[in-house]
């Protein structure tokens, strides 16, 4: 493969990956921080995209479409929470119900299965004209999408370090301890579902503005794509801490898109991409399993040695 092919693939991966990144962060929030599965993201991704497309087609401001899409996504999340809470369902089940309903809502919103916004003014056009760029290019798309993703990712990382963010992280790993600390698990669940679907809705709006159309099925595989990105990221980078977790998703998303872009450049057909995705999931899980084993055996044996030494030294001195 010539080096140019790789460079083009990297640019493709950035162009298509950056808009998706926020959706994958939403998936990660529920999957890794709250340790549950929320299938609403499929519907809220398309909802965000549909809101954005309809808004822009009617002549709305492309920037304003972004918060509208995020709010739409977050409201879809609230709906899942309400169904879950009042019908006493699991998150998975209630999100399947809401996701099914969202399909109809999205279709009604669009009126037809797909809507194009090509020729309408997007955030990339607005960015270009602000900077006096006349020829729209891949680079300016990457810049705009990167800027938005960067700001949102920065805010999310900061949030995870706050008092509320810490409570959320604790609630995902140890509900008993979180409750004893006065953290309300229902409130944290509502928060995480709203955040995840708000991010996903926003991401849908970015994808529409990047690719130029919305398709009512476009959210169908968002959950599995997100999980793939997360797992692949965990192969590249592992460890604990919220910032590291966010970085894992960023790297994982880009690596995953790069893989797809390379595959496309070397002639793999798009209908084979799902099989490729499934292979990446299995491959990442296998690799992660291997890495965990190695790290654990290393860590436990050295931790044991250290703790035995420490116990000998100080425990006896203290007690008697």
């Amino acid at each position: 493969m010539e080096p140019q092919v790789f460079v083009y693939a990297v640019l493709d991966a950035l162009e298509t990956g950056l808009p998706y990144m926020l959706a994958f962060l939403g998936v990660w929030l529920v999957f890794r921080i709250y340790q549950d599965f929320d299938l609403t993201v499929g519907g809220s991704f398309t909802l965000g995209a549909s809101i954005c497309a309809v808004w822009i087609v009617r002549g709305g401001d492309p920037w304003l479409a972004l918060p509208l899409a995020a709010i739409g996504g977050a409201l879809a999340g609230v709906l899942t929470y309400v169904v879950m809470y009042y019908l006493n369902l699991s998150l998975i089940l209630s999100s399947i119900v809401v996701n099914t309903a969202l399909f109809t809502i999205n279709l009604r919103l669009l009126g037809v299965p797909d809507v194009s916004i090509i020729g309408k003014r997007t955030i990339v056009d607005s960015f270009n004209s602000a900077l006096g760029i006349t020829q729209s290019s891949q680079i300016s798309t990457i810049l705009v999408m990167g800027l938005i993703a960067g700001v949102v990712i920065g805010l999310l990382s900061l949030f995870l370090l706050t008092e509320a963010g810490l409570a959320l992280r604790a609630c995902g790993t140890n509900k008993m301890m979180a409750r004893a600390a006065g953290v309300s698990p229902p409130l944290m669940l509502l928060l995480v579902i709203m955040m995840a679907n708000g991010l996903t809705g926003l991401s849908g709006a970015l994808v529409v503005q990047e690719q130029g159309f919305v398709d009512v099925m476009m959210g169908a595989s968002i959950l599995i794509f997100g999980v793939t990105g997360v797992l692949l990221g965990e192969v590249i980078l592992w460890g604990t801490g919220p910032i590291r977790g966010v970085l894992t998703v960023v790297l994982g998303t880009l690596a995953y898109r790069l893989l797809l872009a390379l595959a496309f450049r070397v002639g793999v057909e798009p209908q084979d991409f799902n099989a490729l995705t499934a292979s990446v999931v299995v491959f990442s899980l296998l690799l992660n399993l291997g890495v965990t084993r190695v790290v654990q055996t290393r860590a436990t044996s050295s931790a044991k040695a250290i703790s035995i030494a420490a116990t000998d030294a100080s425990e006896r001195r203290e007690v008697t």
Partner: protein, 266 residues
């Protein structure tokens, strides 16, 4: 002064596979502020249920619970956390893996209070004051603030849990066999540190223990539970007078009573 804890006529029934188990039967208990009580009793006597009912993690079938004169019977555990701190039997429950030592402490430092989405969880002030507390009570834990708690031993985690529980002086401290998962030496150390902290902070404390000698040694008042009831309520003076041997005898009497009761079907 009003009571710190009052449990009125409280019953708890569990249903398990068709059978019903009465874990508490019309239990009454009052604790004055800063009273320090140890609880002992045979397996299944209802000690953990008593603690859970106070904390709000097990609902009552009958009766009322008051904290500081306020009826909290209907409040969930996470709302009662503004008054109650607890340490669990299992070290993995009382500290949160995936968070560092100082993050755990920061999480608990806002027990039962609002958590802002705009303020950083870790502040220099809190870190320094907690470091000082660990230096005094934590046995070298002050050097491990940034480590994930999963890297600490069970004993270190329990010690940390006790220190975190009393760091922001709670109204009530609940300890349910919090040393039973530890080896004898570490258990002794955690027990002594717990006793020091409870005495210094004057916290109203209920400490369940499985160890008769500790029940005799620690606390001002001793409750012996049996079959969902308080079978003996031994005051400080009586406890001193009976001493360890006398208490063990008392415990035997209660346990024997239980045996006779169940034989006659009472």
């Amino acid at each position: 002064m009003s009571e710190s804890i009052e449990i009125r006529n409280t019953s708890v029934t569990f249903h398990r596979g068709g059978a019903t188990v009465r874990a508490l039967t019309g239990l009454n208990l009052k604790l004055a502020p800063s009273e320090y009580v140890t609880v002992i009793g045979p397996n299944g006597a209802g000690k953990s249920t008593l603690v859970n009912v106070l904390a709000g993690s097990v609902p009552v079938n009958e009766g009322e619970i008051f904290l500081g004169g306020k009826d909290v019977t209907r409040l969930p555990d996470y709302r009662r956390a503004q008054w109650i701190a607890r340490v669990f039997q299992d070290p993995a429950v009382g500290t949160c893996e995936g968070l560092s030592v100082i993050e755990n402490a920061a999480l608990l430092s806002r027990r039962g209070r609002n958590r802002s989405p705009f303020k950083f969880a870790l502040t220099r002030d809190h870190t320094e004051s907690f470091r000082a507390l660990l230096a005094e009570y934590g046995r070298d834990l002050q050097h491990r603030l940034k480590q994930d708690v999963s890297r600490l031993s069970g004993g270190q985690r329990q010690l940390l849990a006790v220190i975190m529980a009393v760091a922001e002086r709670p109204e009530v401290l609940l300890l349910d066999e919090h040393t039973s998962a530890l080896d004898p030496e570490m258990a002794e150390l955690v027990m002594r540190r717990t006793d020091d902290l409870v005495r210094e902070q004057h916290v109203t404390t209920i400490m369940v223990t499985h160890n008769m000698r500790w029940a005799a040694r620690f606390g001002d008042r001793l409750l012996i539970m049996s079959r969902g009831r308080i079978a003996a309520d031994i005051t400080r003076e009586e406890k001193v007078r009976l001493a360890e041997d006398g208490l063990i005898q008392r415990f035997r009497q209660v346990a024997a009573g239980e045996l006779t009761d169940s034989l006659v079907g009472g």
